[in-house]
């Protein structure tokens, strides 16, 4: 399987609970990244910072293709990172792919493992 090396394999889908999410070690431009798994086993990635006050979206409750931020309950669309009206704002979405059960994420100049 050949892909531009900007694509990082971050392991099997099964590492994420259904309707769950996890934060990555890898960061994007120094900012945390969240990987989400929906009820239909689709995978999405967003910067793990709520557009409201940077709440950790990876800790939210996931239903359909949305996640609810744990801090003040903004609802964020997983596909485009957009906050659902009336709230406004966007958590930057990142490209992910599922290849043979493994998740690949596209991180331009990924900074190596950071806490």
């Amino acid at each position: 399987m050949t892909m531009s090396n900007n694509w990082k394999n971050i392991g099997a889908l099964s590492n994420i609970p259904v309707r769950g999410a996890r934060r990555l070690c890898l960061k994007h431009e120094g900012r945390p990244v969240a990987i989400f798994r929906t009820g239909e086993d689709e995978v999405f990635a967003l910067l793990d910072e709520c557009p409201h006050k940077k709440g950790p979206l990876s800790e939210g409750i996931i239903s359909g293709k949305t996640v609810t931020c744990p801090l003040h309950n903004w609802v964020i669309g997983l596909e485009d990172g957009k906050a659902v009206a009336p709230d406004e704002g966007i958590a930057q979405p990142l490209s992910v792919r599922l290849v043979d059960g493994d998740i690949y994420i596209h991180l331009p100049e990924a900074v190596g493992a950071a806490a």
Binding site: K8, N9, I10, G11, N15, I16, P17, V18, R19, G20, R22, R23, L24, C25, L26, I35, T38, G39, K53, K54, G55, P56, E59, G60, I61, I62, S63, G64, T68, P70, L71, N73, V75, D102, A113, A115
Partner: protein, 820 residues
């Protein structure tokens, strides 16, 4: 023997609308034999429900669906129906009416029900094609056609009609602007505050508003192209709808020389100045009042029908009228006065801008004279009933604005609609022709519990809203039979079902997983949402303690991670300190954990224990492990469950102490820790009435006295401080423990998720809690036993589990897989 065929009176109706035919129905119900009836209508249709023209325009109903009396109805009753035939004149001497260009029809009794005419502003351009009123089927057909071909509509008039027209056209894809003369919408039915909320909502639905907008001219040469306002603004339009009001249609009566003013003058007997001529509906004027809504007209039809049937006593008394706007999803209700008339009057308002709820009640001499509701209108008809019956409300004044459910607990009279006495066939909703039977079937078959769901399924009370009180009574009636409480709100947008209802279904149908519940009760969303998932997870946990497998993904992060998330994404850790008592060893452990994981803050909480704040998520298992070694377990400071049991030093040390409050507090905490509850639960035990442990603002408090223990329930601090209600006084610790367990279980089994004991008891009443816990000893013992049973499965320290590696994925991050 021979029968003399009694000469029947000839009754002729001018007008084939709602008032006319309702009167005929009332008459026939009393005396079907008395008259030969002829109905003459200008419209080419049988009688239809004018109210629902709005729904037809909005595409929610078809024209056939709004016909009330098909032609067959007239035929079967031997009523001669003449349609498309306006009556041109009345000859009161010859006692005939003349149809335009047709024959004269003789009458003994004449009934005028000519309704009203739309008003038009005095501006140029009214005659242009593309200018329409909103009054009859012809208008609606034209508007629907215009919506198909044209793009933009301007509605002149921001009252009930105008707004319903605007919404309907919007629904049909037009871009719509409303021009309104007044600063605020529906100013006749709503006060400015409610008008503003309404404007905000319709604005959000894409309708543009020009308030304080005086129309000066309708633009266009061949056809309407827009309107110009007095301030020079021009609004382009392919369709202009006039909805600035109506005027009683009195031409005929004037021509016949009957007494008229604004409308055709009638007395309480609904007779005009000519004793053989009656009049009902929007064309009349009674005591200087004219009418624009059906509620008072149904009343007129009753009286007029009775009079025609020979009941000389029947007299018309106008009922208080009320309005509700028929725009799907916009709840507006208004009755009587809009504001205090003078200093003597009294206004109670509730304004929750965030939830878009506004309620205003106007009182005069302890009686309701008006109500304006926005966003939450279910109680409207109840207010109207209190108005109609001129009920003294002083006794429950404080609860009034919160609605019937609250007020009745405070002693408001419970309405006397005798549902049991109603026949199944009896029509409840006149607008939509729904019978009691149909409503009952829907409620039982579909398990409906709220007014809104009944409306959605049967359309009963969905139009003029007049029968809402009856529908609610039926709900309550069946509710009493089926145990469905009236105040059982839908859990969330994913479902129509209320909390109690879902809990009953879980037990009755042995539903054991969240998926099964959603499946069985027809959830609208595949996954549910952040509101219903935690609720269902709790309800299942409570129903099946032995077998249910908790769903972490349906828990708020704090309960999933077993720590409180902080605003910076770190966590706080609060170990239990039983009854607020600790030891040097525990303090050592806490100190070294804080140093080892350099935890930035250590704080004594308001719950008599210590909070370690700012712990990194990945450190949590390590922190717990070390605390565990020193014998400390989770304090559940994050849980909808037992939080703290505050105590004072009590008889052990205090010179006033009457009992061992500290020891009792510890026993209570040991019995109750680990249990999941609808919301958090806090206990406190004070050694004497000085109450140093603040037992009187806890979910359950114990105040020790010489004679024993006073048990208090339903208090909390927080936003709405509530002081506990006394439950009972007992003499032994064992009794305290039994009451505590039973109280916990009753709360766990019957409160709504996220409802704390204070609002729960406010809802069900302390009397009910006493009935279950104090008066019913066996019941109490059973509840207590069920609680202890579920504790067998609940009392597992979540920290130890995770320190041992459970849910490891929670606390580690995903890392890149090194390519090999």
């Amino acid at each position: 023997m021979r029968t003399v065929k009694r000469h029947r009176e000839r009754l002729v109706l001018v007008g084939n609308g709602m008032a006319a035919i309702r009167t005929v129905e009332e008459l026939l119900a009393r005396d079907p034999e008395r008259h030969d009836i002829t109905v003459i209508g200008a419209e080419p249709h049988p009688n239809y429900n004018r109210i629902l023209l709005s729904s037809v325009l909005a595409g929610e109903k078809t024209l056939d669906e709004i016909v009330i009396n098909p032609r067959s109805w007239y035929g079967e009753r031997g009523i001669a129906l003449v349609t498309g035939a306006p009556v041109a004149a009345i000859d009161r001497v010859a006692k005939t009416v003349a149809i335009a260009g047709g024959d004269a029809i003789p009458y003994d009794k004449l009934l005028l029900a000519t309704g009203s005419k739309p008003l038009a502003p005095p501006v140029p351009g009214l005659g242009l094609p593309g200018v329409r009123a909103f009054r009859d089927i012809g208008d609606v057909a034209a508007m629907i056609e215009a919506a198909r071909t044209g793009r933009r509509a301007v509605v002149i008039g921001g009252g009930l009609l105008g707004l319903e027209a605007a919404w309907g056209l919007k629904r049909r894809g037009m871009s719509v602007a409303v021009v309104h003369l007044m600063p605020s919408l529906m100013e006749r039915q709503l006060d400015p505050a409610a008008g503003e909320l309404l404007r905000r909502d319709l604005d959000a639905r894409g309708i543009a508003f020009f308030t304080d907008g005086q129309t000066e001219e309708i633009l266009g040469s061949e056809r309407a192209e827009g309107v110009r306002l007095a301030d020079g603004r021009e609004v382009p339009a392919d369709l202009v709808v006039l909805a600035i009001g109506i005027r009683p249609n009195i031409d005929l009566a004037r021509g016949a020389g009957l007494a008229i003013n604004r409308g055709i003058k009638v007395g309480d007997d609904l007779r005009t100045s000519d004793p053989d001529i009656y009049a009902v509906g929007e064309c009349i004027e009674h005591n200087g009042q004219v009418f624009g809504l059906v509620a008072p007209i149904w009343e007129q039809a009753k009286v007029c029908g009775a009079r025609l049937a020979g009941d000389e006593a029947a007299a018309y008394v106008p009922p208080p009228v009320f309005t509700s706007l028929k725009i799907t999803g916009v709840d507006v209700f208004s009755a009587g006065a809009l504001a205090a008339a003078d200093a003597a009057d009294d206004e109670i308002t509730l304004h929750d801008a965030k939830r878009g709820v506004y309620k205003k009640i106007i009182l005069r001499e302890h009686k309701i004279v008006g109500a304006v509701l926005y966003g939450s209108v279910a109680d409207g008809p109840w207010y109207v009933q209190l108005m109609r019956e001129e009920t003294e409300v002083a006794a429950f004044r404080d609860q009034l604005v919160f609605g019937r459910a609250f007020a009745e607990r405070a002693g408001a009279p419970v309405p006397r609609i005798d549902v049991a006495a109603m026949a199944d066939g009896e029509q409840v909703c006149g607008c939509n022709g729904v019978s009691k039977g149909a409503i009952c079937r829907a409620i039982l078959d579909k398990g409906l519990t709220s007014l809104d769901t009944v409306r959605a399924h049967t359309k009963a009370s969905a139009s003029c809203g007049q029968c809402t009180a009856t529908v609610e009574a039926i709900l309550a009636h069946l509710g009493a039979a089926t145990g469905v409480g009236r105040d059982d709100p839908a859990i969330c947008k994913c479902t129509e079902h209320g909390h109690d209802e879902v809990r009953r279904a879980i037990l009755a149908r042995r539903l054991e997983t969240i998926a099964a519940v959603r499946q069985a009760l027809g959830w609208k969303t595949p996954d549910g949402c952040q509101k219903c998932r935690p609720a269902l997870n709790y309800y299942l946990l409570c129903a099946w303690p032995e077998t249910y497998r908790d769903d972490p993904q349906s828990r708020f992060v704090n309960e999933r991670v077993h720590a409180n998330i902080q605003k910076d994404g770190t966590y706080s850790v609060v170990p239990r300190m039983w009854g607020g008592v600790t030891t040097p060893a525990e303090l050592h452990a806490i100190a070294s954990v804080a140093e080892k994981f350099n935890i930035p803050a250590v704080k004594v909480t308001g719950g008599q224990r210590i909070d370690l704040l700012g712990v990194k998520k990945e450190d949590l298992p390590g922190v717990w492990n070390d605390l565990g070694k020193a014998g400390m377990v989770s304090g559940h400071a994050y849980a909808k469950g037992l939080r703290t049991v505050k105590t004072c030093v009590g008889s052990e040390w205090c010179r006033f102490g009457t009992q061992d409050s500290t020891g009792l507090g510890i026993k209570l905490e040991k019995m109750c820790w680990g249990s999941w509850t609808p919301h958090k639960v806090k206990f406190a035990v004070s050694g004497c009435p000085r109450n140093c442990a603040e037992a009187t603002i806890k979910d359950m408090g114990v105040v020790c006295v010489e004679a024993g223990y006073d048990i208090l329930v339903g208090g909390n601090g927080g936003v709405d401080v509530r002081v506990t209600d006394p439950l009972v006084r007992v003499t032994s610790e064992d009794e305290v423990l039994e009451y505590a367990g039973a109280f916990m279980q009753l709360y766990r089994e019957e409160a709504h998720y996220l409802e704390r004991t204070a609002p729960w008891i406010a809802r069900v009443g302390i009397a009910y809690v006493k009935k279950r816990l104090v008066e019913d000893g066996e019941g109490r013992a059973a509840l207590h036993a069920r609680f202890l049973r579920s504790q067998l499965f609940a009392q597992v320290d979540p920290w130890t589990e995770r320190a041992m590696g459970a849910d490891a994925h929670e606390f580690a991050r995903l890392s890149e897989v090194e390519a090999v």
